[in-house]
């Protein structure tokens, strides 16, 4: 498990993808081993495709994004270090960086949103299937539930639905500045809550 992941108590969340204990593929990619490409697409294609569909304005945009993300994965494979983060986290980080950059670009291109976002309904993120829930996933869910309603909502609308700040403000009826501060506080409290629970668990294990 990665050092930072251990600190924030989240690394085992990756068990929902059942990839935590698998041998990393990126070192093989970094060595130019083309045979690892298919394995990498088998392992992470679904995750990246899922993220891209969720955070892209159209299907064709999601298709372009997925190709760019995997290009980033190949180009950055030699930067992966297992002791810092798990491979699935590394891939998800690259995916989010690319998707956020594209979202920002597309918001610049289209200007104001032409549709009335306030009339749309945004469902809460799905919970991991019961059998897949790890202790840490349960902790993450518990920590999310401890956030104030507005903070949790801002995180769900931004992380899961990929909405820009202005649309979140319209959606939940908060000033733009409050959306920013809710996002920061929510994320920071979530991290602190996860750290605390992780330390408590570590102490229990040591006893």
């Amino acid at each position: 498990m990665s050092k930072v992941g251990r600190e924030i108590g989240l690394a085992s969340l990756h068990d929902v993808w059942e990839v935590e204990l698998q041998v990393p593929l990126l070192p093989r990619i970094a060595n130019g081993e083309t045979a690892a490409i298919d394995e990498c697409l088998d392992r992470y294609g679904g995750l990246v495709w899922s993220l891209a569909r969720r955070l892209s304005p159209s299907l064709s945009d999601a298709e372009d994004a997925v190709q760019e993300i995997f290009l980033d994965v190949w180009k950055n494979a030699n930067r992966f270090r297992e002791e810092v983060a798990s491979e699935v986290t590394f891939v998800a980080m690259l995916a989010r960086r690319r998707l956020v950059s594209r979202m920002r670009q597309s918001q610049r291109d289209v200007g104001a949103q032409p549709i009335d976002e306030s009339t749309l309904q945004y469902a809460s993120p799905p919970q991991p299937a019961r059998l897949d829930i790890t202790e840490e996933a349960t902790q993450a869910t518990a920590c999310l539930e401890r956030l104030k309603r507005d903070e949790r909502q801002v995180l769900e609308l931004s992380i899961y639905h990929g909405l820009p700040q202005s649309q979140i403000a319209t959606r939940i009826g908060l000033p733009l500045g409050s959306v920013k501060s809710h996002a920061r506080r929510g994320l920071s409290q979530l991290r602190d809550c996860m750290r605390l629970r992780s330390r408590v668990n570590q102490k229990r294990e040591e006893q």
């Binding site: 983060a85 995916a95 919970q127």
Partner: protein, 264 residues
């Protein structure tokens, strides 16, 4: 004098880091984030990003769908190109996707210069099809006269020819530079379709030619276009121009392939 309510550097960094991860940053914010990141440890700077990535992984897990086959194929072809080109690239000591923070601060002056250079080159490249012919004519002549490995070939009709289109291509693999010359090519509408160059390399499969750049033709008179290879070309043997959707494609279906230039 700073207000009592002004956020500390640490709070401001967290504010910017959150915005970076969730919404993206403006150029000014990126620079500020880079400067503030210098005072934040690598572990700390990664913690929020890892947290968000982990939520992404968790929330995507139960709604995963397999990658569509046509996308998988396109990604695979591009990966083979990338891995073949970079096979001898040494592993770096970097630990993660490079932090946009500390290096931006450390190399800020260089970054600004580089950004200006990139801006200039991008402008130069993006405008290459409408650039005064005299400049590219000189550049083309300079390649022919000074590149020891210069290759030159005339355009010939491809499977879907354009009547009356002529011209040639000049290329140096050593310099990774070249110029295409066209006469009688139809002017394209960039919002509907664009021309795209493909470079076939002897050291790579014919299925994965190198993307030589997307370009526009603005006049049916003489047009010179700078070649813009996206990967290193080791030994070019064939150049092909296709017509694609705006922005070009990663893998061409080759349905519209009007021009070919065989250098052997």
């Amino acid at each position: 004098m700073m207000s009592d309510h002004a956020p500390s550097d640490r709070e401001r960094w967290e504010e910017l880091e959150t915005a970076r991860l969730l919404f993206g940053l403006s150029v000014e914010e990126q620079l500020e984030h880079g400067q503030l990141s210098a005072a934040v440890s690598v572990d700390e700077s990664l913690s929020l990003e890892q947290l968000v990535a982990s939520l992404d992984v968790t929330w995507s897990g139960s709604e995963s769908m397999p990658l569509p086959e046509h996308l998988r194929l396109a990604i695979r072809l591009r990966a083979e190109q990338e891995l073949t080109y970079n096979r001898v690239r040494p592993a770096t000591s970097g630990s993660m996707p490079s932090r946009p923070g500390w290096w931006a601060h450390r190399y800020l002056p260089w970054l600004v210069s580089a950004a200006c250079l990139v801006f200039a080159v991008t402008r130069w490249n993006s405008d290459s099809s409408v650039r005064p012919v005299a400049n590219l004519t000189e550049f083309r002549a300079e390649i022919i006269s000074s590149a020891p490995d210069v290759q030159r070939a005339d355009w010939t009709a491809g499977p879907t020819p354009i009547s009356g289109a002529t011209g040639d291509v000049v290329w140096s693999s050593q310099r990774q530079q070249g110029v295409m010359r066209f006469q009688g090519m139809p002017v394209n509408s960039p919002t509907q379709e664009q021309y795209q160059l493909w470079i076939f390399d002897k050291n790579q499969s014919d299925k994965t030619p190198v993307d030589g750049g997307v370009f526009d033709v603005t006049t049916e008179g003489e047009v010179l276009v700078l070649i813009d290879p996206k990967l290193k070309v080791q030994e070019a043997f064939l150049f092909a121009v296709t017509i694609e959707k705006p922005g070009g494609v990663v893998v061409s279906s080759r349905e519209r392939l009007p021009l070919l230039a065989n250098v052997n």
